[in-house]
């Protein structure tokens, strides 16, 4: 049968080209795989959810609490279907698993990117894959945001309002753009069908296509080799083949990981739609985006109010805080491979302590994001009495810039210490081997 298939499908060529792909043996190389498995589980749970979800914001009678004949309890159909999904067997768990998996996919991809950055794996020839990875991160965040809006509870409604306001804040074309993206002025009659289209067709399509490109490039360019490969066989690809060695490891990892997330879904409640209730004009206190967008939220919370006119368009704090500023941050991340001017191809994962400036800049960047996320807790900090509304902005602004600067120099200091210790070790080892040699004589 093998021969029959081979004559038609050239299995042996597929085998040589793809199925024998060598995977480096190191746990940090599993992070990208976890991201991929999360995407697959997200698509599977998403399909199951889509089967029971009703993408419409038309008002229907709440079948769980119908009200009275002359005063029926009307709620949006999308919200009603979310309640129904919760009521079906394992429905709540399915929703929570989808939610948790989305969080874990972004977390895994962020840690995956940290591994790539700190070991210099973004260097020539892998710049293109770094850029595709950045696009994946951005589109994953957009998919998550559109997914937030779909249950159309009060939380989703208030979130959608803010996303609409951010789109609208673009100078010159904002009004048109927001209305085109959200099917009319917020909350338009067609907002849920529109967002549904984005969340289940457009964005997953983009994610899948970009993931495919990401993996094909990775197979073409090969993984960066871990340091041990340099010692075993210099300039040779070292690792275990996809079939049949890596596959069982991958399957074990997927099953174990999916099992853990299912346990999360079963026992840790997340986004309780019943608690938030249907869309209303009552605000939700402590409304916050998910952790990966908290830094943008923090920037919006501490940016002072301003707006000015430029060539007939209004440029305001909202546009600068939610578009220009994240644009600069994401632009910096895009530019990372261009900051490296090496002409040679990079084969081996580098030891971060051999590149203290890159390491320091990376840790400082993370501190910057953490401080901005802390600024997102401004109202809570004021409520807890840690800050007052008079000094909160000043203190948070100082933290946003001072902590990364301190972190940068602290990292440089620690690296210097590590290297001094390492050199001392080497000198000592050399001295001992000298002694051993002379003793032998």
């Amino acid at each position: 049968m093998n021969q029959w298939l081979d004559e038609r499908l050239h299995i042996s060529r597929l085998n040589d080209k793809f199925l024998r792909k060598a995977f480096p043996v190191h746990h940090s190389f599993f992070l990208g795989e976890i991201t991929l498995f999360s995407l697959i589980v997200l698509i599977l749970t998403g399909i199951l959810l889509a089967l029971s979800y009703e993408p419409s914001n038309t008002l229907v009678v709440n079948s769980f609490d119908p009200g009275t004949g002359d005063k029926p309890n009307l709620i949006p159909a999308a919200y009603h279907s979310a309640l129904k999904i919760n009521a079906m067997p394992f429905g709540d768990m399915l929703r929570r698993t989808h939610h948790w998996m989305a969080n874990i996919m972004i977390a895994a991809s962020v840690i995956h990117m940290m591994r790539i950055y700190f070991t210099g794996a973004f260097k020539k020839p892998r710049e293109i894959n770094w850029w595709i990875g950045m696009l994946l991160l951005i589109f994953a965040a957009l998919t998550a945001v559109t997914g937030y809006i779909l249950p159309y509870d009060n939380y989703a409604y208030q979130t959608a309002g803010v996303v609409y306001a951010i789109t609208k804040s673009v100078p010159w074309v904002g009004d048109w753009l927001a209305q085109a993206a959200f099917a009319g002025q917020f909350p338009g009659a067609g907002i849920i069908p529109r967002i549904y289209g984005y969340h289940i067709m457009l964005l997953p399509g983009i994610l899948l296509a970009a993931t495919g490109a990401h993996m094909l490039l990775m197979i073409k360019q090969k993984h960066t080799q871990p340091q041990y490969a340099k010692r075993i066989a210099y300039k040779k690809i070292v690792g275990v083949p996809l079939l049949t060695q890596q596959t069982p490891i991958m399957l074990t990892l997927t099953l174990l990981f999916t099992g853990i997330v299912l346990l999360f879904g079963a026992f840790i409640p997340v986004h309780p739609v019943e608690y938030f209730g249907p869309p209303s004009s009552t605000p939700i206190s402590n409304i916050k985006p998910d952790w990966y967008l908290l830094w943008v939220f923090g920037a919006l919370a501490i940016i002072p109010a301003f707006d000015f006119e430029l060539l007939g368009g209004t440029i305001g704090a909202e546009f600068v805080g939610a578009m220009v500023f994240p644009g600069i941050v994401v632009g910096l991340m895009f530019a990372v491979p261009m900051l490296d001017r090496a002409k040679e191809n990079n084969y081996y994962a580098e030891n971060p302590t051999n590149h203290p400036v890159r390491l320091g800049a990376g840790v400082a960047f993370m501190a910057f994001m953490l401080m901005l996320s802390l600024a997102g807790y401004k109202p809570d900090l004021i409520a807890a009495g840690v800050l007052t509304s008079a000094n909160a902005n000043t203190i948070l602004w100082i933290l946003v810039f001072a902590v990364p600067a301190l972190t940068y120099f602290a990292v440089l200091g620690i690296v210097r210490m590590i290297r001094a210790l390492r050199e001392a070790d080497e000198r000592e080892a050399a001295a001992h081997s000298q002694q051993a040699l002379s003793a032998d004589d």
Binding site: V162, A165, S281, N286
Partner: protein, 221 residues
């Protein structure tokens, strides 16, 4: 080496294919863009979408008392959230609750506490005052500040307003004060006497808001 360069009067195959591909891409691109026109639906003003208008009564927005007229005795230094509403020809109450910009915050402060820049003539006896309750920053509903009673706090990005001083911005990112709505007392009911007196959320300039109110008047006349 000869300096002779062959002059080919005819179109080469490469040139033809390049031009054909360019032309096809341009036509395809433009037609794709034209379909984007369908993405933005037309805006049609319905009574429920209209902003608060002169003659509207003010009714509760809270689900438990939805549609009940707001009475003076309901009001205090705690925010009361409300919608404008009117009786249609059949005498049925129509609440203008389709445009979130129309949601209102109504307060009653002891006499003398409400000061400029509040328009005192648009309040009831300098005691009861109504504002649009949509933050001018990102359009969230603004609530009471729980730490400092008598002030307002937006839960989204910490915008702060003082309803005793024309809802001017006293903290956070909002670009404008909340718009004041002129009201009067008619018997037991609070009645709207005109449009919002400054720009509500969604309009960046006074002219835009003026133009919209003119459009509304035209559509209703």
């Amino acid at each position: 080496m000869t300096r002779y360069k062959r002059q080919d009067p005819e179109l080469t195959r490469r040139k033809f294919i390049n031009a054909a591909m360019g032309g096809a891409a341009a036509v395809g691109g433009i037609s794709l863009i034209s379909t984007l026109g369908a993405a933005k639906p037309a805006f049609r003003l319905t009574p429920q979408l209209a902003p608060p208008l002169a003659g509207d009564i003010i009714v509760h927005s809270d689900p438990s008392r939805y549609g009940e007229p707001v009475k003076v005795s309901d009001l205090s230094e705690q925010l009361v959230r409300a919608w404008p509403a009117f009786k249609d020809e059949g005498g049925k109450l129509v609440v203008r609750d389709q445009d979130p910009t129309s949601v209102l915050a109504v307060y009653r402060f002891p006499k003398g506490q409400i000061v400029e820049p509040t328009n005192l003539e648009a309040t009831i006896d300098g005691e009861i005052v109504a504002y649009g309750d949509r933050c001018t920053h990102a359009g969230c509903n603004v609530e009471d500040n729980k730490q400092q009673p008598g002030l307002m706090n937006c839960p989204c990005h910490s915008g702060q307003y003082d309803p005793k001083q024309g809802c001017k911005v006293i903290g956070g990112p909002p670009p404008h004060p909340l718009p004041q709505l002129p009201i009067k007392l008619e018997g037991e009911q609070l009645v709207v006497t005109g449009f919002f007196m400054s720009v509500p959320y969604g309009y960046s300039k006074e002219e835009d808001w003026k133009r919209y109110t003119e459009q509304v008047q035209e559509a209703l006349s």
